[in-house]
Subunit: 156 residues, 2 copies
């Protein structure tokens, strides 16, 4: 197990997209309770099962296991809570850190967020120019909430 | 993934216990919704994560993965819904099939059930002499319910 520390930001413009190619992610939840989420994910042709504990600040416990792709697809299509989240993820190195940008599809189309994983909650980071407002602690941006309350249906 | 087909019975007496030794199981749930249970289990010093779909008759879909023992213990102690189920499981071959007898501990002390896994729902089986009433379809005997409504608190 590990502790996951990450900060999340909105993304401005599309300049970041010039020279990177993304990977296609599908993910769904077997449990989306705040105390314990159980996520099934495919990344291109790989399958993963991930358990995360309750978020405390920017940290939460995380356990991730590789599973057969066929199992992941069957669970996404038959067992997970619906709808499934689909997104393209881009990885962009910037000043010694790797930023992950998620460009959502389907009911979350139009939402683009950037995450960066840290080793320490207080770690100083340099923000890339395309990074906008920080949303680390805003629950509506959690992936486990985005399928229940997709971006296209937000009022504000 | 596989389909799990099993029948469950109550157990009479203790004759079955004469010549077998059991293994110690601890298990808890990351999700105990009827549509999808996610179970963490340790068997002696091994760890497992198991996802099961909705029960339909005696069948349900099942996905099981071996995980590090330390992960399983940490999830049982910190993440799972409480209380954790503890039981000793015995395996007894009888007439070509293997019966699994669970002798529950803690709040389910006194409950002993026997399960047998089949390849076909209509498969004929020979019942061992210590097998009592069939409870295959009685939800209160599901392990996912026994920790919420333990045997010691049943009224009837």
């Amino acid at each position: 197990m590990g502790m996951e520390i990450e900060r999340k930001f909105l993304v401005n413009g599309t300049d970041w997209k010039q020279e990177v190619s993304g990977l296609f992610y599908r993910q769904g939840y077997l449990s989306s309770q705040p105390d314990r989420t159980v996520r099934v994910r495919t990344v291109e042709d790989k399958g993963y099962l991930t358990i995360k504990g309750k978020t405390s600040g920017a940290s939460r416990s995380e356990y991730e296991y590789v599973i057969p792709y066929e199992d992941a697809v069957a669970m996404l299509d038959q067992l997970c809570e619906t709808p499934i989240i689909e997104k393209v993820r881009y990885r962009i190195p910037y000043e010694g850190l790797v930023w992950e940008i998620d460009e959502f599809q389907g009911e979350n189309l139009g939402l683009i967020v950037a995450e960066v994983e840290l080793t320490d909650e207080k770690q100083a980071i340099q923000l890339p120019p395309w990074v906008g407002k920080e949303v680390t602690t805003e629950a509506k941006y959690y992936n486990a909430n985005l399928f229940k309350h997709p971006f296209s249906k937000w009022i504000d």
